[in-house]
């Protein structure tokens, strides 16, 4: 299957947007080659601002640009975008409901060798906790392009989570993206995997493995963490009786947290969260780390098998 990194798709989408809308401006913090904003910089140098290694200043500047009518896209690694600049995002962007887009690359453990200091496994939780913030986690290149375009349309702050490695292209060109509306990638009655980002492809693979054993798994691609598609979550709970969430993120506060909150309130069924179990990441090859932390199709299938046996018990 063809693989494209979501950050590469982001770089391309930005150039497209830049052509269509002169109000789109882009900021980076000395990582333009890695986040791919360099593409926009090449085409529209006068609308690109490298702020240097100063993430807080980048977000604050974007808030000002937005207050004056521009549509700023800010990029750096997810750890620095959401971590270093969190309180500026909270007060100058989200609290002020300004039209700032934060598109952060190198999220999760697939950052690889740089290690735990650079692997953001809490950014979804941080961004999801903010009122007014929309949180998008595209699963592939097609979805990334759509998410970037949708973000430009949304009036208000948007967080887009992007990754470093190539990921399989799951959608055709006819794919329709609607923020807040989950995509059922595959039907099944025995369990549901709700996945986001790179884990959507893994979930599909796991569902394929389980099908051979006669376990039918629904795979829901939750590309929007906020606002969460509660309808899709409740439907999964009601119709399949057990949910396994899958994300390249801490099990605390991200997709798993959001799904569990919705399920608890509306239709309690067991929810198993697959992700990083309250630990920091570490150095290693991306594939080795996914294996170690159980973010592979085989591990995910094992969790679903286990979940199915617990189904319906009180």
């Amino acid at each position: 299957m063809k693989k494209i990194a979501t950050r590469d798709a982001y770089g391309k989408a930005l150039v497209e947007l830049g052509r269509e809308n002169p109000d789109v401006v882009v900021l980076d913090a000395d990582l333009a080659k890695s986040t791919k904003t360099i593409e926009f910089a090449k085409h529209f140098p006068e609308r690109f601002f490298d702020m240097g290694i100063a993430e807080q200043n980048m977000i604050g500047t974007a808030a000002g640009l937005a207050a004056a009518g521009k549509i700023p896209f800010c990029s750096t690694f997810a750890i620095f975008a959401t971590g270093r600049a969190f309180e500026i995002i909270r007060n100058s962007v989200a609290y002020s409901r300004l039209n700032v887009k934060i598109a952060a690359s190198h999220a999760g453990i697939t950052v690889g060798e740089d290690g735990g200091s650079h692997q953001s496994v809490e950014d979804i939780a941080l961004m999801r906790s903010l009122p007014n913030m929309t949180v998008l986690v595209p699963a592939d290149a097609v979805e990334t392009r759509a998410a970037v375009r949708a973000a430009a349309q949304i009036q208000g702050p948007v967080y887009i989570r992007l990754g470093r490695p190539g990921v399989p292209v799951l959608h055709g060109d006819d794919f329709h993206f609607e923020p807040g509306r989950a995509v059922v990638m595959r039907e099944g009655d025995d369990a549901t995997i709700i996945a986001t980002g790179i884990m959507v492809a893994t979930a599909l693979e796991a569902a394929g493995l389980l099908e051979q054993e006669g376990i039918g798994v629904r795979v829901v691609n939750m590309h929007t963490i906020k606002p969460l598609d509660e309808e899709a979550v409740i439907a999964a709970a009601r119709e399949t009786g057990v949910i396994v969430t899958a994300e390249e993120h801490s099990v605390i506060g991200g997709l798993g947290g959001a799904v569990a909150e919705a399920v608890c309130a509306c239709h309690p069924v067991p929810v198993y969260r697959v992700g990083l179990p309250d630990v920091f990441g570490e150095s290693g090859k991306p594939g080795e780390l996914l294996e170690k932390y159980g973010l592979t199709a085989a591990h995910l299938a094992a969790r679903v098998r286990e979940a199915v046996t617990k189904k319906g018990r009180r």
Partner: protein, 272 residues
């Protein structure tokens, strides 16, 4: 100054540069440029200046070194191994799964690492904290910090600079690896930090500007810094990114790319 000592240190720095090349080459990733530019400073600190005991890495009276520009981990690891904190063979595990030699320094995993770094801009504040603790505990250890010239674009660096002067932390000595390059290009083009010496002076620091590849100047500057009372000291070290490997020198491309096997060979030949 003692010519023999200088020669010994220069030879050690060359050895550390060779380790940097071998380690990043073996890892297939990492940051050779900024490791090479600070090799002479780090060598001087670990092999002449600092009061440390590799057998007793948590000795309360030891001098501390904080590698604020944490991506230069290879130079720190090479110095620690050469100094005897762990085996030189371990260097080749850099960035591997399970290795204590993480991509960026992790104080919980590797003896001799005083502070976990990698997110730029945070090291000076941590150094200040150690220096304040020394004062509270009546200890005479000193804290050394290494900052990148791109790194000082971070606002937090200047918050810490202000605090160090405010609290008269004369037990803090910082080095600025003034190699003129960051990731997106020359510092002057991305986001100018000049004039650096004047900025640190204006923030209340004692400032010296030296050739960061002259062992003699590094040692003399540290000597002078130690004698300063009532002020933290900044040593602006004029350096060359990639220093010692001709095809890496002053090349922004070598910030975060590892040498391939044939490049390792060529680099090692130059550093023989």
């Amino acid at each position: 100054m003692d010519g023999e000592k200088i020669k010994r240190l220069e030879e050690k720095a060359r050895k550390i540069r060779r380790h940097i090349i071998r380690m990043t080459g073996a890892a297939g990733s990492g940051h050779p440029g900024g490791s090479l530019s600070s090799a002479d400073i780090v060598t001087a600190l670990y092999f002449e200046v600092m009061r440390i005991d590799p057998q007793n890495p948590r000795w309360p009276d030891r001098d501390r070194f904080v590698l604020s520009k944490g991506h230069a981990a290879p130079v720190l690891y090479a110095a620690l191994a050469e100094r005897g904190f762990f085996s030189v063979e371990d260097l080749l595990t850099l960035r591997r799964l399970g290795s204590p030699l993480q991509g960026h320094p992790d104080m919980k995993k590797l003896p001799g690492v005083e502070m976990s770094t990698g997110s730029l801009g945070q090291g000076l504040a941590c150094a200040n904290g150690m220096a304040l603790a020394a004062r509270l505990d009546g200890r005479d250890y000193r804290v050394y910090v290494l900052l990148g010239d791109g790194e000082i674009q971070e606002g937090m660096v200047w918050e810490a600079a202000m605090a160090a002067a405010h609290y008269r932390l004369d037990n803090v000595t910082a080095f600025l690896d003034h190699n003129g390059l960051q990731i997106d290009g020359p510092v002057a083009r991305v986001m100018s930090v000049e004039p650096v010496a004047e900025k640190w002076r204006a923030f209340g620091w004692d400032v010296q500007v030296i050739d960061g590849h002259s062992m003699e100047e590094i040692l003399q500057a540290v000597e002078k810094a130690r004698a300063v009372r009532g002020k933290p000291q900044m040593i602006v070290a004029e350096t060359v990114k990639g220093k010692g490997v001709s095809f890496m020198e002053n090349m922004v491309e070598w910030h975060g790319v590892a040498p391939k096997p044939d490049e390792v060979e060529r680099a090692l030949a130059e550093l023989a």
